[in-house]
Amino acid sequence: MMILSGDPPKSRVLTLILVVIILALAATPFLFPGAKALNVAAKICVFAALVASYDLLLGYTGSVSFAHTMFYGIGSYAIAIALYGMGPNWAAVATGIVVGLPLAALLALAIGLFSLRVAAIFFAMITLAVASAFQVLASQLSWLTGGEDGRSFQLPELLRPGTVLISKNLFGFEINGRILTFYLVFAISALMILALLRVVNSPFGRVLQAIRENRFRAEALGFRTVFHLTYANCIAALVAASAGILNALWLRYAGPDTSLSFSIMLDILLMVVIGGMGTIYGAIIGATIFILAQNYLQSLMGVASKAASEAGLPLLPGLLHPDRWLLWLGLLFIASVYFFPTGVVGRLRHGRADKSAGASH
C-alpha cells in the first residue's frame, strides 16, 4: 500500500492484469528468448513511464500538450550527443543526464508560463507549434544532431551485449550487459511510475484534479492555478526526458523517427486514452496493448490483407495492409473517447463499482 501511495488498482481483474504484465516484463529475458521479445518488453517499459507522465498532464490537469515528444527527444538527444561526442564512458552518461533533464525542465517552465495562463486550447496549439519547430530544428542542425540520420553511439563497457556478467553454466542462462541494460530500463521506469503515483495522490495532485474539474473554483479557493499547472508540466517533462534517456540507451541511437516525430505524439495520445486517462495504471495497460498491437497485429493484418486480395475483394487489401494498422487504432481511439472515455482501467473499475452497488441492495 505504501509503495502504491494508497492508490491500489481497485479492481480484481485489473490487479491480475497488471501483475501478469509486470511479471511477464520482468521475466522476459528468461521466458521469451530472442531479440525481438526483449525489444518489445523494453519499449513497453519506456512507453509506460512516458505515457504515465503524459497522463499527469492530460488525465489529472486536463490540458492537452503536443510537446511531450519534444521533451522525450531532448532526453534522447542529450544522452546520444554526449555519448557520441565524449566516447562510451560513464562521465558521458552523467553529462547527458545533467544537461538533458534541466534543459527539458526549463523549456517546460517557459512554455508553461507563456501559455498555461489562458485556455486549454491555447496550450494545445502553442505546444503543437513549438514542438514542430523543435523537430525541424533537430533535423536541420545536423552538425549537432546528425540530421535525419540521427546519432548512433556505443554504450559503456558494462552495458554492452558482449559483456558476460554471469556465465551460462551457473544458472543455465547467460546474464550479459544487454540484460543488465534491460533491467536498468525496467527498474527506472517502474520507479518513475511509482513516483508519479505518489505525485498524483499528494495534496498537490488533488489540486491538479480540482483545476481539471473547475479552474475558476480552484482559483477562487486560493490556489495559484498557473503555478500548479506549470509545476505539473515541468514534472511531466522531466519524466518524459528520463524516458527518452532510457530509450536512447536501449536503442543505442537517437533520431527524429524514434524520438521526435509527430506520430509518436499520436501514439502516446492513443495509449493514454485507450488505457484510461487520469489513472496512471492506464499508462501501463495502454502501452502494453498498443506496443503489442504495433509489433504483432501488423503481421496478422498482413495475412488478412493477403487473404482479401486473393479473394479478389476491392479496397479491403489496401485497408488491411500492415502499414495501415494506425487506421484501425485511430477508429478504436475515437470509439474509446466516445463510448468509454475512462479507458480500459475506468471500465474495469466501473464494472466492479456497479457490481458492489448491486450487491449492497
Binding site: 486549454a120 486550447i121 507549434a129 530544428l137 485497408l319 481511439f333
Partner: protein
Amino acid sequence: MTDLAATDPLPKPRRDLAPILLPIALALVMIPLVGSPSTWLTLTAASLAMGMMIFIMASGLTLVFGLMDVLNFGHGAFIAVGAYIATLVFAPFVASVQADSLWVNLAVLAPAALLSMAVSGALGLVVERVLILPVYGQHLKQILMTTGGLIVAEQTLYALWGPQIIPMPLPTSLRGSFILGDVAIARYRVLAMLIGLAVFIAIQLVLNRTKLGLLIRAGVENREMVEALGYRIRRLFLGVFMTGSALAGLGGVMWALYREQVHASMSDELTVLIFVVVIIGGLGSIGGCFIGAILVAMVANYGGFLVPKLALVSNILLMVAVLMWRPRGLYAVTSR
C-alpha cells in the same frame, strides 16, 4: 459616462488600426534590408500570394472556433482531401491541363476546385455529425476526437492512394511570370492573390451585410440569446462548419498547385501552419486571420531571403513576438 440622447446614433466602436499597419510597416522596413527594389517587389508579391492561400485554409478554422467554440484539430485533413480530389479530376484531362490556353486550363481547374470544395464540405457534414456533435462544449474531448479524425482521415488517404507523392503539375498557361520592367511575378501567384482576395471580400460581405452574417455574428457573441429568439443555431453551426471545410478543400487544391505535389502528410504540416496563423490573428477573428496569414507568409519569404537558417523557426518567433504584444492575438474576440 457621457449622456446619450435617444436620437443620437450609437457610439461606434473605435477602429483598431495597429494590426493592419503591421504588415505594411514590415514590408516598408524590408525595402532597405532587401536592397534591390525589384527583388523586394517579387518577394512581396510572393508573400501576398502565399498569405492568401494560407488565409483560405485557415479561415474555416477560425470561423468555426469563433461561432461554435470548437477547435478542429482535424482541419488539415480537409485540406489534404481537397488536394487529392483535384488530382482525380486532373488525371483524365492531362491533355487539357497541358494545353497552352488559359480558358482550356481553367475549364479543368474550376470544376476540379469546385468538386474538391463539394467533397470537403460533404466530409465536413459527416465529421460534424459523427465526431463533433456528441462533444459540443467539451474542449478536451473535442481535441481528442478531432485528432482521432485526423489520424483516420490521413490513414484512409494512404490506403486509397498509397504512400507515394503524387505530382500535380501546374496548368501550362499558369506557368511562367508576368514581366514588368525587371520585376517578375509568377502568374499563378497573381491568380492565388485574386482568389484569396475574392474569398476574403465574400466572407466579409456575408458576415457584415447579410442577415445570415448578422445571425452568425450574434451567435458568436451570445449563443443562447440567438436560440431564444427562435433561430436554429445548430443548423447555422453546421452550415458554417461545412463552409469552413469547403474553403479548406479549396485551399488544399491551391496549395497543391503551388507546391506541384500532393501527399497525405501535408495535412500535418499545414495544421501547424494554420494554427500559428489563427493564434496570431486571435481565435475567432477573420480579419486577424487575414493579417496573420500575410504576416506569416511575409516572415517566411523575407526571412528565407535574408537569413535562410532563420526561416525554420520564423513562425514561432513571430508568434511569440505577437503574443508578447497582444496576449490574445491581434484581434481578440471579446466573448471568448
